[in-house]
Amino acid sequence: MNEAGLELIRTRRVVRDLTDAPVAREQLEIILRAAGHAPNAGNRRLQTFVAADDAGLVRVLRMVAPGMLQRPTAVIVVCVDIARAVRFGFAPDAKGLYVDVGTVTQTMLLAAHALALGAGPVTSFSRAAVAAALNLPEGLRPELMVCLGHPTATQAPPMASQRARTWRDVTHWGRY
């Protein structure tokens, strides 16, 4: 049993209180490489990542992302390559494309946690505005932003936990 691995999973949190210290490129590269280890349907890798660590660009992204409560110093935008997906025969709104956004995101969040960085996902943003801000080519659709930074010593309490339901409450063994 890899207890350290399990502990990493158990201790990961969405971290929103961040310092203004920049995230090193080397750390961003580790996180981006980790994304390549996420499970991905058919191993097709239909995501493109846009890493933003320029202060001005991060500021603009935050302006058009109502869900970005934190002030990150780096953002990795997870885009779905719709053009490639369609060439593989997927419908543009195929659910599997978004499952893969989830797996790469969680993998990156765990990598950030392993680096002692604060991280959190944001999906509430204007896709049109982010695409324009990043000058994305046609066929790339931004779907999620991983916000990164160095955590402050104290953190605001998390959103109210729904842990009144434990894993036992949401697990059914075998057929219903």
């Binding site: 302006m63 058009v64 109502p66 049109a128 959103m159």
Partner: protein, 102 residues
């Protein structure tokens, strides 16, 4: 009496961008996020205005306006509406004093 400017153009654009994009995201999101986004916008505006505002306005922006946590919503706080009512009442008190309403 000339009124002091409390926002730069850059700062005004930041709030404008937030409001416009929140209008779009709200089309696809749960109804309760509407209040959350509006209070977030108010908080960001307060962050920008506070350094240049009058002392009584700063007291309101740093005090009653911050009563709710940044992630509060109706479904995670049974007192959410009552707390918003309290903020609204405190705001009204400040406005009456600020504008010398009689």
């Amino acid at each position: 009496m000339s009124e002091p400017m409390v926002l730069t153009e850059d700062e005004a654009l930041e709030i404008l961008a937030y409001l416009v994009t929140a209008a779009r995201t709200q089309v696809d999101e749960a109804a309760e996020y509407g209040s959350l986004r509006l209070m977030t916008a108010a908080g960001r505006l307060a962050d920008l205005v506070t350094p240049r505002a009058s002392a009584p306005t700063r007291a309101f922006l740093d005090g009653p306006l911050r009563a709710l946590p940044g992630t509060a919503t109706k479904s995670n706080d049974p007192e959410y509406a009552a707390k918003l009512d309290a903020v609204c009442a405190a705001l009204a008190d400040h406005l009456v004093a600020h504008f010398d309403a009689r």
